[in-house]
Symmetry: C3
Subunit: 390 residues, 3 copies
């Protein structure tokens, strides 16, 4: 077996940050399979100054990652159909301009526009003050620039491309987390995978929370779009989500004054521990699927933000170790996880971009198999808020 081809784009150990860079399969002498191109750019101007983007284009697929924003995924596309959403935040804001504590702990909202942003890992939920601890919205990882970024390309077909990034959350006496993220594209595929490992480098145990805040808008999201998956439990996140409970798995079109409704859910996994959930458009010709391991992320939050287009017409499919309730609520509910010294937690996800009826049908068939024998319990009250797992 031949060695992989490795490019280091960022490495704080060497004080390195490559500003602009690209490589193509042709330049690498790789001529089998789907041709690919990988490009890194540094953005300038306004609150984007210094933001970096890495785009992997391979065959029909393109996916763009933001190393300076915690390796979040800005957007993806297949056959030119874009997956992501149109946030009022229309720039890739660099973390040096974000103050998470501003707006009473809601500063995170000034940068939020990704297809997928990691909420975590010290905490991941809604802001709160708990004794002398101050928790800002959705944690710090999504606004932390990566300390190490590498591109690895396998010399052998199918020439798997892996973009890895290291996110550090470190503060003396407080936390020493390292999250090694890996996004993999197999040339020719219609989706991509994440394989993240959160390591507690400290000598003491530390709690963690994570939510993979995955956000999809038009064209998949539209009036009559549906979320499908082997749901076992669905409960309103709070009173605001009760009015649409009967249609929790269906979407409205852009709706003035809708704001948002959230549902706390649980999903069944298959024999391999994996589950799959998808957003499908009204006619079943477009979709976006998220597969993940229920053992790694037992909580699933469905965020329906079907407000007007300009406000950000979007839904969140959010697997997590927890729901986005404030940390003390999660602790009381028994959902706050703990990492022992040196221990690691792994989070694996696969995203599939579905751009025709046959792809949507295949996804729906996979999900139907998972749903076999499953009955969903839809609760009238936010019962998952305080549920303590055995």
């Amino acid at each position: 077996m031949q060695d992989d081809i490795i490019f280091t784009l960022t490495d704080t150990a060497g004080g390195l940050e490559v500003a602009d860079w690209s490589v193509t399969s042709g330049e690498l002498g790789i001529h089998s399979g789907a041709p690919f191109e990988i490009v890194k750019r540094t953005l300038h101007g306004g609150r984007q100054e210094g933001s970096t983007l890495v785009t992997i284009r391979s065959g029909r697929l393109a996916v763009t990652v933001i190393p300076t924003r915690g390796m979040g995924i800005l957007r993806a596309s297949l056959d030119g159909i874009g997956f992501g959403w149109a946030s009022p935040v229309d720039e890739v804001v660099h973390p040096s301009f974000i103050r998470l504590g501003e707006r009473n702990g809601l500063g995170w909202l000034e940068g939020f526009n990704e297809l997928m942003v990691r909420c975590g890992y010290e905490w991941s939920g809604h802001p709160t003050v708990d004794g002398d601890k101050v928790y800002t919205l959705h944690g710090r990882a999504g606004n932390t620039p990566a300390s190490k970024v590498e591109v690895r390309i396998e010399r052998e077909a199918p020439h798997r491309i892996t973009l890895s990034g290291l996110i550090k959350e470190k503060a003396f006496k407080n936390v020493e987390f390292e999250t090694w993220t890996e996004l993999t594209v197999v040339p020719g595929d219609t989706g991509f995978s994440l394989d993240d490992r959160l390591v507690n480098r400290a000598d003491y145990a530390h709690t963690y929370e994570v939510i993979y805040h995955t956000n999809v808008g038009r064209p998949v999201l539209e009036e009559g779009a549906r979320v499908i998956g082997p749901f076992t439990q669905v409960a309103p996140f709070n009173d605001a989500a009760k009015p649409d409970l009967a249609t929790w798995d269906r979407y409205r079109g852009p709706t003035r004054d809708f704001d948002e409704m959230l549902y706390a859910c649980e999903l069944k996994a298959g024999a391999d521990g994996r589950t799959e959930v998808a957003l499908v458009n009204a006619s079943g010709t477009l979709g976006f699927s998220v597969a993940y391991h229920v053992g790694e992320m037992p909580a699933f939050t469905l965020w329906k933000n079907t407000d007007t287009d300009r406000q950000g017409y979007v839904t969140g499919l959010e697997p997590g170790s927890n729901y986005p309730y404030p940390l003390p609520v999660e602790r009381a509910a028994g959902r706050l996880k703990t990492l022992e010294p040196g221990a690691e937690a792994r989070f694996r996800l696969h995203f599939d971009l579905l751009t025709d009826k046959s792809a949507v049908d295949a996804c729906a068939a996979r999900i139907d198999r998972l749903k076999k024998g499953v009955e969903v319990a839809v609760h009238g009250e936010p019962v998952l808020r305080s549920r303590t797992k055995a």
Copy 2:
């Protein structure tokens, strides 16, 4: 009519920021009228790292704008006489070093040294906490780097030069403001104009506040300097301003332990809706005039900060939609403005630099005409604080 000449210096849409650049009228083949030069520089070192300056020099006039600080105006000069002030903050601080929430909401003071800084547009006044909303001093626009900066030069005489800048205030679920600022210099003129348009891009109405915090120190400001204008109402901003009420329109020399006194004022406009107010030195040989539209900015704050020279001997002539009382006070007084979805508010100002007696006399004559028939009501108490407009 020929097309304008356009140079794009910043554009986040294209990820562009030109670091250092200049152009002269000669290079453009423009030989009629006053020669001009436009220069952009990027500053480095300390808390200035990454700050940008654009200076327009034309004939006797020079004006320097700070794109990275919300298109604020650092200083201007005519015939080598400088207009601006000497703040203890002696660097052009880049917003990445400013935390508006620090110092109990007074972090803005760590960057304040401009001839003109925009306070706004989500809020513009003194810091306060109002329920779950946290308002820091003078809003965020002045510490937001411009997302788009262009220089436009008309090919036809008088070859008007316009520096435009886009300031975004965007946060998901909170605000989607765009302010398109334009500073225009007509070669040969002794002043310059602003024509700003604040647009509410959101699908919901949003309140706004704005104060054009215009600050002048020596040499115009000195003992015996005066503020002149068609004032109709003058009231102390608070109790601290009462002692000097009798001499509200006259200035002291640098005065130890003076700190500051503020007066809330209203001015009469002419038939065209425009008013003019000026600071004039003791001998009437130097002055600085601000003309603006009273309909756009009905509130005028006079800020007398005649403390010692090193503390920042300066006065503020501050047209605004409101006074700098905390937002809840402005709301209660009926001064909080609202922008409907897609609506815009326009703010036009003209600044004139007066460097000899005839220029001062001409300005005073214009103001005298505005004052015809006007009687100023000077109130003993801060009555404008709570006044609710009909």
Copy 3:
């Protein structure tokens, strides 16, 4: 006498920041004495983006300063033996990523890993809110990039090398401090000196606090290591430090759940006003000495953080104008110093790196001479907390 050789590496007055630079004694035509090399580097990637380092190497000695972090000293070495410590914070974090107000005033901990960091000068102690004033941990100087950085080399032997840096703490109406720091290396020496001048540029008196937070870990720190010095007073900083009071001057090895213990101390000076305190390893073959002027810094804090290696096994030898109690405590105890307008305070320290038994013995002998006739009062209670000096 010949002029010094001067290199300006940073100067905000000229908008200058030299990114990468070096010079050697050979290039300067200096061939007498120990050869030297001075190197400036700019770091990139992650939260290091834009951090700068200046390293002076001369003979057996190397010392690395961080201009972007208030001229703090990252580490030093002699004969390849490193002095400093291994913090969980393993990058040189740029201040644009530090928010001192985060973590309930403990944001400073996200960047802390220096051999010496200046705490001050507006305040230097533990975080607190005092009326409308918010004090974050250890003040702002350590997270302020230098506004002016110069290297000065004397043409005449011993070709003294001085790295000077200007730290500004300026906020309109609040503070106008300039600290002119100087770090001097005499080629051939085994240590280096600081000579800092804090100037109050304002027209009003301002209080100040300073702690030179000097931190040493392995290899000097180990089980059985000792701190030696002419201590006259030792008191636990708080109740947590009482258990180890009997062995206050001896160190444990890495100790799980130890966290930290602090002691508030006073030291006797010699006839020249200078005192010396040192950390010495168990076998007396390695040490690190800090000499300073007791009149300039009457308070000495001993910080024993002998927790596990990964948590940061380290001790702090911390001369200061005050102890790190919150500012109101220091004020009440009479330790809050005041600088009159235009006045300056000087802080001189000398650090010596001891890498063999003879060096340690010589240091111990110097300290023994200072201890002659001194009896240390070890208090059972935190009596120095509230002591008001006459």
